[in-house]
C-alpha cells in the first residue's frame, strides 16, 4: 500500500492551510459548511462562483471573510441598473499636469471580486465582467492589463424579486464553474448567529494564507490522481444529460431541452479533484464526483417548458441522472 501513502502524505502537507482557513472563516460564519467548502473548491480549481440564496444568508459576509483570511485584495461591487462597464474595468482620465490620458483601474483589479446581485446590472456590464472572468485580462483604451492571480469572481443573485433584473444568459452562466444554492441555517446555528451578532466585540479575521500558497495548492490539485474509471463516470453523467434515453432515462427526454456542455465535464473533473484535496485525499473517488455534481450541472442543463410547467428543477434532473448512472 505504498502508492496511496505517498499521495496522501503530499496532500496532507499541501492542504494544511485548508484547516486554518476553515477555522479563521468559521469565526465569522456559523454553519454554511457547504457554502464554505464550495468557496474553497472554486478558489483551488480557479473557477468562478455564482451564489444564489435569499437575502441574509451571509453570502457577502462569507466572501468577505474568505478574502480577509487570505493576504489578498478584495473588491465589492454592488450591481445596479445604472452601472457602466467603465465602473468595473476602469477608464482613461485626462491628466492636465502631464497633458496626457492616464489609466484609472477599476475595482476589477483585485484578487477577490464580490459581484453583489449581478442580475441587477444590464447585459453590457455583465458581459464586461464575464469577459474579464474568461480572458483574465482587461483592455482600457489601447492597453491590455492582465489580472493578478488568484482572480476569483464570486457573484451573488437573489432568487426572489425578479422584477427589474437582467437574468444571466445561459452562455454566460456556463462561465461560472459552480452555482451554489444556499439554504437557511438550522436552529442551533441560528442561535449561535444571534449570540455572535449581539456580542459587543467585533470579530476580526486574520490573514492566515498567502496567495502564493493558494497558487501552489492549485498546482497540487491538478496532480490529484483521477482514475480512468472516474473519467468514464464523469462522461457517463454528462452524456446522460444530453442523451437521457440512452441511459434508461427516457422520461427525462421531455424535460431536458439541452444537456451539459464539455465545459461541464472539464469543471466536474476539476472540482472533483479540488473536493478530494479539501478532503485531504490524493485521489478522486465517485463520492467526490457526486458531491460537486449538482453545483457543476444545475446551471448547465436547460429545462423544457413542460419541465417548468411541472415545477421540475435541474437538481431533480441531476438526481435522476445520478441514480441511473452506474458507479464504477
Amino acid at each position: 500500500m505504498t502508492d496511496i501513502r505517498e499521495i496522501n502524505e503530499r496532500i496532507q502537507q499541501e492542504s494544511a492551510f485548508v484547516e486554518l482557513l476553515n477555522l479563521e472563516v468559521g469565526k465569522a460564519i456559523i454553519g454554511q459548511k457547504y457554502m464554505l467548502e464550495r468557496l474553497l473548491i472554486g478558489l483551488l480549481s480557479n473557477g468562478h462562483l455564482l451564489l444564489e440564496g435569499v437575502p441574509g444568508l451571509a453570502k457577502t459576509l462569507a466572501i468577505k471573510s474568505l478574502a480577509s483570511a487570505i493576504h489578498s485584495k478584495f473588491s465589492r461591487i454592488q450591481f445596479t441598473p445604472d452601472l457602466l462597464p467603465a465602473d468595473l474595468l476602469g477608464t482613461m482620465i485626462y491628466n492636465q499636469k502631464k497633458e496626457e490620458f492616464t489609466v484609472r483601474k477599476g475595482p476589477l483589479f483585485s484578487n477577490f471580486i464580490l459581484a453583489d446581485e449581478i442580475n441587477r446590472a444590464p447585459a453590457k456590464v455583465q458581459s464586461a465582467l464575464l469577459e474579464a472572468m474568461q480572458e483574465r485580462q482587461v483592455t482600457i483604451g489601447e492597453e491590455t492589463f492582465h489580472l493578478e492571480e488568484p482572480f476569483l469572481v464570486l457573484a451573488t443573485q437573489n432568487p426572489i424579486e425578479q422584477e427589474g433584473t437582467y437574468p444571466l444568459p445561459e452562455a454566460q452562466l456556463d462561465r461560472f464553474m459552480l452555482k451554489i444554492v444556499i439554504g437557511y441555517p438550522n436552529k442551533e446555528e441560528e442561535r449561535l448567529i444571534i449570540r455572535q451578532n449581539l456580542n459587543p466585540e467585533p470579530i476580526k479575521i486574520n490573514p492566515v494564507v498567502t496567495t502564493n500558497e493558494i497558487l501552489k495548492a492549485r498546482k497540487v490539485v491538478k496532480e490529484v490522481y483521477m482514475d480512468e474509471k472516474i473519467e468514464k463516470y464523469i462522461l457517463d453523467i454528462v452524456f446522460a444529460t444530453r442523451f437521457p434515453a440512452d441511459n434508461n432515462l427516457g422520461k427525462l427526454k421531455q424535460l431536458i431541452s439541452y444537456g451539459a456542455s464539455p465545459r461541464a465535464s472539464i469543471n466536474l473533473a476539476l472540482a472533483s479533484k479540488a473536493y478530494a484535496f479539501v478532503k485531504r485525499r490524493g485521489y478522486v473517488i465517485p463520492e467526490d464526483v457526486r458531491a460537486v455534481c449538482h453545483d457543476i450541472l444545475r446551471h448547465r442543463i436547460g429545462l423544457t417548458y413542460e419541465a417548468e410547467a411541472e415545477n421540475v428543477t435541474t437538481d431533480e434532473v441531476v438526481n435522476e441522472v445520478l441514480n441511473a448512472v452506474e458507479v464504477p
Binding site: 500500500m1 502508492d3 478522486v284 465517485p286
Partner: protein, 318 residues
C-alpha cells in the same frame, strides 16, 4: 254630301258596336255542382267552366280556400279543351268542397275578365250564384239519452307481438356474440406465463466469487480487475438480495444503507473492509499485499454467507 257622310259614319259605328256585342256574348262562364245539398262535413264536387272563342284572352278568377263558410278540400289544375273546329275553347277547373256549418250557403258569382284580340277593352263574364244546403244530423229528441259506451276489449294477438319478439331475440343474439368475442380475446391475451424463478442471490454471488478466484487475477498482477470484480459481485449481491440499486451507489452510500448498517458487526466490518479497499485499488492505484487479496475474497464470501435467504420469489427479486 255632308249628310251622306254623317250617315255612313253612324252606320259604321253601329255596325262595329253590334259586332263586338256579338263576340262578348260568345264568352260564357258557368258553375255547376254534383249536388245542392250535403250532410255537414260531407264533400261535393264543383266545376267552374269558361267557354270562349279562340281569339279571347281570359283571366281565371282567384278562388280562395274558404268562402261563404265553405272550404276547398282539393282543386284540380285548369283544364283546356279546344273543339274540333278550333273556334271555341272551354276552360274548366274542378273543386272538392266541404262545409262544417249547417245552413244555406251561397257560392258567390265568380268574375272572369277577358280581352278580345285587337281590342284593349277588358270585358267580364260572371257565373250564376249557387245555393248549397248543408244539413246537420237530426237528433231524435223523443228517445232517452244513452250512457257512454265502455272500453272495447280487443283480444290478444300474437301477430302484433311478433316484431317485438324478433327484436328481443336479435338483441340477445348480438349480446351473446359480443360476449363470446370478448371471452375469446381474453383467453388469447391471458396466455399462460411461466414465471421465471430467479436463482437465489447468494448462489449467484458465490458462484461468481468462485469463478473470480479461479481466474487468479491478482496472482498475475491484475489487481484492479480483481477488486473491480469483487466490488461488482458484492454490489450485485446487495442489489439482488435487497432490491436496492447498489450498482448506482457509492461505497459511502452503500455503507449507510439501513440494511447494511444494521448488519451484525462482523458482517458490516467485512463488507466495509472489502468495499473501501476495492475503492483504493480501483481509484488510487493501491497495490495490496497478498494477504489483503485473500482476506478480501474471504470477506466477500463471509458477507454473502451471512446473508443467505431462501429462494427469492420473482416479485422480491424485481
Amino acid at each position: 254630301m255632308t249628310a251622306c257622310n254623317h250617315f255612313l259614319i253612324v252606320l259604321l259605328a253601329l255596325f262595329s258596336f253590334g259586332n263586338s256585342q256579338l263576340k262578348a256574348q260568345d264568352v260564357q262562364a258557368t258553375i255547376s255542382a254534383d249536388t245542392n245539398a250535403i250532410l255537414i262535413g260531407n264533400q261535393f264536387r264543383m266545376t267552374l267552366e269558361l267557354k270562349h272563342p279562340a281569339n279571347v284572352t281570359a283571366q281565371w278568377p282567384n278562388i280562395p280556400d274558404t268562402f261563404s263558410l265553405m272550404e276547398v278540400v282539393q282543386r284540380s289544375p285548369i283544364d283546356t279543351i279546344q273543339v274540333a273546329s278550333g273556334n271555341s275553347i272551354t276552360n274548366s277547373q274542378h273543386f272538392v268542397i266541404t262545409s262544417f256549418d249547417s245552413g244555406y250557403h251561397v257560392i258567390p258569382p265568380f268574375t272572369f275578365n277577358y280581352k278580345l284580340s285587337g281590342d284593349t277593352t277588358t270585358y267580364s263574364s260572371e257565373t250564376e250564384p249557387l245555393l248549397i244546403t248543408v244539413t246537420s244530423i237530426p237528433v231524435d229528441t223523443t228517445r232517452a239519452i244513452k250512457d257512454l259506451k265502455g272500453q272495447v276489449h280487443i283480444s290478444f294477438s300474437w301477430i302484433e307481438l311478433l316484431p317485438y319478439l324478433g327484436i328481443l331475440l336479435l338483441a340477445v343474439l348480438a349480446g351473446f356474440l359480443v360476449y363470446r368475442y370478448l371471452e375469446n380475446r381474453k383467453r388469447k391475451v391471458v396466455a399462460p406465463v411461466i414465471a421465471e424463478v430467479k436463482r437465489p442471490a447468494h448462489e449467484i454471488a458465490l458462484e461468481a466469487l468462485k469463478e473470480l478466484d479461479e481466474r487468479k487475477l491478482w496472482q498475475q498482477g491484475n489487481y484492479k480487475a480483481y477488486y473491480t470484480g469483487l466490488s461488482d459481485i458484492t454490489r450485485t449481491f446487495i442489489e439482488n438480495r435487497w432490491s436496492v440499486a447498489a450498482m448506482e451507489m457509492t461505497t459511502d452510500e452503500i455503507l449507510h444503507l439501513t440494511i447494511i448498517a444494521n448488519q451484525i458487526p462482523d458482517n458490516f466490518t467485512q463488507v466495509k473492509y472489502l468495499l473501501e479497499l476495492a475503492d483504493l485499488v480501483k481509484f488510487a492505484k493501491v497495490i495490496p499485499i497478498a494477504n489483503d487479496n485473500e482476506q478480501s475474497m474471504r470477506a466477500a464470501i463471509a458477507f454473502v454467507n451471512g446473508n443467505i435467504s431462501g429462494n427469492l420469489k420473482p416479485e422480491d427479486a424485481s
